[in-house]
């Protein structure tokens, strides 16, 4: 089995079709993208003991919110921790390990629900499943970039689009399964998690065995590396250890962190926001439709913007996100006051395309700046920005909103301040992106000064 999973065994033959790699990557990302749909279980999980109502001893929503927070935090931490291993062992082994972690996470979580032990759910879905999220997320990145040197953005955008799309499948599927398994004595959540865990294992394992790495020196037929590249694109490689010592890495960290913080701020409050801004016009089911629409644009933006970045460059793409994003965030409060639901929804849909686009374009940006060789490992380390945003974003938004309401600001007005702060974050990210310059030659692999190296003695 170990041999079957090795990187050497997954080297593609000469007539292998590279278009088989994106479906394998999508199989991984569509499964782990379920994480965005975890909230579908929140309400039933608050009734595990009472079944039709919350009974004393049942879990509270605030306790359940930690499941997602832990999972996202572990995603970033595990991507950073195992990035180098993923790079060294290849996509087949790491894809299989991700499948194992993700499905075991569900199974342990299901046991926790069955025994009504919340710590087991945290451990299962949050920690073990979170490792599956982190490893699975970065698994296809360097493989796709190696197969599509001519379309780095489009290739990684396609895979990361799957992460956005996973929730679109998981949400209605979970609803159907819960209805099927629900009985007078059960909400059906534990059985649903069991089925999902097994289903995801089969799908992700199939994806893992679908990965192939190109033979050394392989290039797409007829493709010649451009002699004159864009200024930011390097022909060299920077090791992950050296990359984190460059200002470029930390500028990109700020870019990703603030883009995600702004997006999370909107996603977390979208349903409540639209209902309060258009009080009496928007029903809870229409608000749920709004959240669904945002997920759709989040997914579409991943493919659209990442593909566009192949044409206009990564820096220009992020400059678009931050100029357009800042303007839209500042415009939304006025859209709310204008009373036009369509205008308000259109602004948010456009914002969400850029939230998704930020995730999807960053692997190609990293490959441009630090070279393609270690991109999975560098990407893994950069994903700590997502962990930080996952904690920082909701805390910032909730705290500011609550502070406003406590000081007598009407609920629908309290969102305006939050949105202006988000616009400010995007403005900072705009300048961070603007400051990104090509990496200095001293950071390239093989040219770094050795630690504690003594100077060569002068010849006598």
């Amino acid at each position: 089995m170990a041999g079957l999973l090795s990187k050497e065994r997954s080297v593609a033959g000469s007539n292998y079709n590279r278009w088989l790699i994106p479906p394998a990557a999508l199989a991984t990302h569509l499964c782990i993208g379920q994480a965005y749909a975890i909230s579908v279980f929140n309400l039933p999980l608050t009734k595990e003991l009472g079944i039709s109502h919350s009974a004393p001893g049942d879990w509270k929503l605030t306790e359940l919110g930690w499941i997602f927070t832990i999972a996202i935090f572990v995603l970033g931490a595990s991507a950073a921790l195992f990035g180098k291993w993923v790079q060294a062992e290849g996509p087949r082994k790491s894809g299989f390990v991700a499948a194992l972690c993700w499905s075991i996470g569900f199974l342990v979580g299901a046991l926790g629900i069955r025994l009504h032990q919340l710590w087991l759910v945290y451990l299962g879905y949050g920690v073990i499943g979170g490792c599956g999220l982190g490893i699975g997320y970065i698994t296809p990145v360097s493989t796709l970039i190696a197969w599509f040197p001519d379309r780095r953005g489009m290739a990684t955008g396609m895979a990361i689009m799957g992460f956005g799309g996973g929730a679109l499948i998981a949400s209605p599927l979970s609803d159907m399964l819960m209805k099927h398994f629900a009985s007078a004595t059960s909400t059906g959540v534990a059985a649903t998690w069991l089925v999902l865990g097994l289903g995801y294992f089969v799908t992700m394992t199939a994806g893992a065995f679908g990965y192939r790495v190109p033979a050394p020196g392989w290039k797409p037929a007829g493709w010649v590396e451009p002699v004159k590249q864009r200024a930011l694109i390097t022909r060299e490689n920077v090791t992950p250890a050296a990359a984190v010592h460059t200002p470029q890495f930390w500028l990109l960290w700020v870019v990703l962190c603030f883009n995600v913080t702004a997006g999370i701020g909107v996603l977390g409050q979208a349903s409540a926001m639209i209902q309060e801004v258009f009080k009496g016009t928007i029903t809870p089911s229409a608000a749920a439709g709004f959240v669904g629409l945002l997920s759709l644009f989040n997914m579409g933006g991943r493919f659209f913007w990442a593909s566009l970045s192949d044409k206009i460059g990564r820096k220009a793409t992020y400059a678009c996100f931050f100029t357009l994003g800042t303007a839209l965030y500042a415009l939304v409060p006025f859209a709310g006051r204008s009373g036009s639901v369509a205008f308000f929804v259109a602004c948010f849909c456009l914002i969400l395309t850029m939230y998704g686009g930020g995730f999807a374009t960053v692997p190609a940006y990293l490959a441009d700046v630090f070279g393609p060789k270690y991109v999975s490992a560098v990407h893994g380390r950069l994903l700590t920005a997502w962990s930080a945003a996952g904690v920082f974003g909701p805390v910032l938004v909730n705290y500011i909103r609550q502070y406003q309401i406590d000081n007598g600001v009407p609920k629908y007005e309290a969102y305006s301040v939050t949105l202006f702060i988000m616009a400010g974050l995007l403005l900072i990210a705009f300048f961070a992106n603007l400051a990104i310059k090509p990496v200095g030659e001293q950071h390239f692999e093989g040219r770094e000064p050795l630690p504690n190296a003594k100077p060569e003695p002068e010849p006598a």
Partner: protein, 45 residues
């Protein structure tokens, strides 16, 4: 005289594998998108 069966050529089997791989991921995704769009219609209904 030898006859070649076009169905068994490597190119055809490659095309079938490719079609199957894409359908396996795009069909569930299309179903998810359709469900979401259906739900989103309530926003404008």
């Amino acid at each position: 005289m030898t006859e070649t069966n076009p169905v068994s050529t490597p190119q055809t089997s490659h095309a079938l594998t490719l079609a199957f791989a894409w359908l396996a991921v795009l069909v569930p995704l299309a179903w998810g998108v359709a469900q979401t769009v259906k739900k989103a219609l309530a926003l404008f209904g």
